[in-house]
């Protein structure tokens, strides 16, 4: 008997492996970028502008995925772009997780005026269009890796806060918490030692999701030309350039887009796969 | 001449144990048959099999269900649905969840008449009113326009009973219709069902775990244990002298409300062991047969 659910369950294992594979590959490539990138990502050669990828006629040998309008090697730029992407993903993702989850825990467990203030803050925050807010922040903070990380944290902390708050509230009402309190543990102690381990699985799942979001936000910001700087190779700026020359040199858009696509997909499928693993019902 | 004839019906959990073991029973036209057994004996499963609403995790592995002469299990699904809808009806167990909370009461009674049997709306509404009167619901007009959550549990069960008789079915399956109700209301509802059955002349398969109910309403009964029919007899004969030891134990276990000093008599372990052995023997024979 084939049940649709068993099919999904089998897939859960598969997608966990595939996403780990891609992310692992990406991580390795990013680490070894200066050594494995065939060319200097910043080197321009106007004579070699808009060369197609190696399997098409007119391709320049050594430039596997072609060149952009300034003659820069697409493959090398993608490889170096991976560094930025993963760096942002890890740092911004973790920072957002930390801050958002902390606020969510405090609000959900301590309740009272702490909860009221934080909840109101979340409401106000959610009234902002996220992309616009991030663009605004970058304009204010100026370009740079630090600014991007701050921008991502400032915009997306509510994602963690809301979910963790709800979970903390649910857990806080449970019996094991009451018995911990009776045993004499202080409020913060209870929060850290009893509740935190139980919301950890959710936090991990959201973290992987957040890392995918961070990569996207960085790409959007560099697309709008507000990210690191116009010269540094980021997937977003490559996509921006590719969008402009889409009819003449489609490869400048396609390859970074596909890489970005696979990366974002991998992060979220990783999260989904982990969620299924953690879910006691499915097990 | 039996309106409903179940022959050697076997049903199992897909990839699991059997739930009904070659069940056979007959309900004559206009007759009331009781189906008793403890929880998990499979009583509801028989009713669901007849009405074609077995859960997807369950499969029929053998037997026939003859409704007015035609084997339902041999029919294609659409045809089977039509037949069941035209000839049979269900009085469900839980009045709270058996009515759609988003629809008013009226359409929930008249829908089958208009959509499936092709009645005009006016005729259907008139019929609904008449039925609500029959089940003694005051102000039928208001009730027809009301939503389920506005009415009490007892009222909802009356509506469900009325709804069951709407399309003039020849067979009604009542699946523990009083179990979910207050004790004070149970008696009224029982009397109501019995009265309507007598007036409309409908055959009734009454599923219950309560032997007291059976004695008041049914003419014949079947006793079920672990999906096997253990006894099949008239009510009079049963209460006078049950043949099977398990039936006897069941009868003895019924609390005597009139004599508080008489203790509780659970079914003896020996009887359980014996009947379990019967079931095991059946399964062994089924595997080889």
């Amino acid at each position: 008997m084939l049940d649709g659910r068993s099919l999904v369950r089998r897939r859960a294992g598969l997608r966990l492996w595939l996403s780990c594979l891609w992310l692992g590959l990406l991580g390795t490539v990013a680490l070894l970028a200066p050594w494995i990138a065939p060319r200097d990502p910043l080197a321009q050669d106007l004579f070699l502008g808009r060369m197609p990828p190696f399997w098409l006629p007119g391709a320049e040998p050594g430039f596997w995925l072609g060149t952009d309008s300034l003659g820069r090697d697409v493959l090398s730029r993608i490889i170096h772009g991976a560094r930025v992407a993963l760096l942002v993903a890890l740092i911004a993702g973790s920072a957002t997780c930390l801050i958002g989850a902390t606020l969510g825990l405090l609000a959900g467990f301590l309740r009272g005026w702490v909860d009221m203030v934080i909840s109101r803050l979340i409401d106000i925050w959610m009234a902002f269009p996220p992309v616009l807010f991030s663009i605004l922040l970058i304009a204010v903070l100026g370009p740079g890796l630090g600014s991007i990380i701050i921008a991502i944290v400032v915009i997306d902390w509510t994602r963690f806060a809301r979910v963790i708050r709800a979970e903390a509230m649910a857990q806080g009402a449970m019996d094991y918490v009451a018995s911990a309190r009776v045993a004499g543990r202080g409020r913060i102690g209870t929060m850290l030692r009893d509740i935190l381990p139980n919301v950890l699985p959710t936090m991990v799942v959201l973290l992987t999701l957040e890392m995918g979001i961070a990569v996207i936000v960085e790409a959007i910001l560099s697309f709008v030309n507000l990210s690191i700087s116009t010269d540094d190779p980021t997937w977003g700026s490559m996509i921006a350039e590719g969008r402009a020359s889409i009819h003449q040199a489609w490869w400048v858009l396609v390859f970074p887009l596909v890489t970005l696509f696979l990366t974002v997909l991998s992060f979220s499928q990783l999260g989904e796969g982990l969620k299924d693993r953690f879910d006691p019902v499915l097990r | 001449m039996s309106f409903l004839s179940i022959r050697d019906l076997s049903v199992r959990l897909k990839g699991g144990p059997p739930l009904l073991r070659r069940v056979s029973l007959e309900v004559a036209a206009g007759e009331v048959r009781g189906l008793v057994g403890e929880s998990g004996a499979g009583k509801s499963m028989i009713g669901k099999a007849v009405l074609g609403i077995l859960p997807p995790s369950v499969a029929v592995t053998g037997g026939q269900i003859l409704l007015d002469g035609t084997d339902l299990l041999a029919l294609p699904p659409a045809e089977r649905r039509r037949r069941i809808g035209a000839l049979a009806a269900l009085i469900p167990q839980d009045p709270l969840s058996a009515l759609n909370p988003s629809h008013r009461i009226g359409p929930q009674i008249t829908d089958r008449l208009v959509d499936i049997l092709g009645w005009t709306r006016a005729d259907a509404i008139a019929r609904a009113r008449a039925l609500l009167d029959e089940v003694q619901i005051p102000d039928p007009g208001r009730v027809l326009r009301a939503y389920p959550h506005e009415l009490s549990g007892g009222m909802r069960q009356r509506i469900l009973i009325a709804s069951a008789f709407a399309a003039a079915p020849k067979l009604i399956i009542a699946d523990e219709p009083t179990t979910a109700l207050d004790v004070t209301v149970q008696k009224q509802i029982l009397r109501l069902i019995a009265g309507m059955q007598a007036r409309h002349g409908t055959a009734l398969l009454f599923v219950t775990h309560d032997l007291g109910v059976v004695s008041k309403v049914c003419q014949r009964l079947s006793v079920l244990y672990a999906g096997m029919v253990v006894e099949d007899t008239t009510v009079a004969a049963f209460f006078a002298a049950p043949r099977h030891p398990y039936s006897a134990a069941l009868l003895a276990a019924t609390p005597k409300y009139t004599d508080p000093s008489a203790g509780l008599n659970p079914v003896p372990d020996a009887v359980i062991a014996a009947i379990r052995a019967e079931v095991a023997a059946f399964d062994r024979a089924a595997k080889h047969g």
Binding site: V8, I124, L257, L265, S268 | L51, Q93, P101
Partner: protein, 336 residues
Amino acid sequence: MPFLRAILVRLFTTAITLAGVAVIVFVVIRVVPGNPIAMMLPPGATDADIARLSALYGLDKPLPAQFGIWLSGVMQGDFGTSITTRQPVLGLVLGRLPATLELSLMALAIAVLLGGAAALAGTRARGTRTEGAIDIANGMALSVPDFLWGLLLILLFGVLIPVFHISGRVTPSLDLPFTTNFYLIESILRLRLDLTADLLGHMFMPALALAIPLAAIIGQLLKQSLKEVMNLDYVTLARTKGYGETHVILHQALRNAVLPTLTLVGVQFTFLIGGTVIIERLFSYEGLGNMAIDAVINRDLPLIQGIVILFAVIFTAVNLIVDLLYAVLNPRLRHA
């Protein structure tokens, strides 16, 4: 009476939220390094020129004073003047609003259709391979944000198989006889269906990009809800009456399954509207989002403020409508 009180409380919290948004925006953009006025004037401008224009726009006063001036202006309907275009902010912003509204609503319609179809098909085919396939497709659509879908669509249907337009709101050479900026609606009302076709040809790609993630959410949630409802007793009872699977899903289960999904869809719709900022940029669509990005790049403070406030108002309005809709659709709440 309690109903009235609920409305008042709701209005009060909304006002606080909007005030909070206004304050935050105000503070954030005035921390901008670099004087916006200086950016606007030609390089040879003297300090005196800069000072004069700064005074004109009130940028030399202390922050709370500036906020007070702005707020009192807002009470009278004056949202200030755009630094880049010298026109009243309110007029500019309301001028671009219809374009973004039409785009968002079209995206919503597409999302509901696609998501609803996926949910219904998945429920009809439950327990089969088809359901598994739909689940996988859904999962992938969910994981990828509108930005990437937009780029993909540009590649596929703008370049590879050029069927739709990937730039602008309408073909520039066309003569438009409209009085409002609700081009799509007006073109239908005026029966200029040639214009409607042109507009739809431009709107379809951006709307689809916005719609896909929302469609996936609707598909997943609604299917889950439907499957739960399908196990309930009243659905089983309907089957005994002779109704087939399709009728049971559509007439018995659907209305009860929609309710739980409504609130989440409302929140996700506000995210969709937020997504118009980047999607409009991607497709060069002349809406609010596109103007917003330009405003930020040009440091046009009053315009930025006006746009952010407008977005905030739209979001809160959407939340309000969703809550009202929920109360209306739920018979239990209606009579309570």
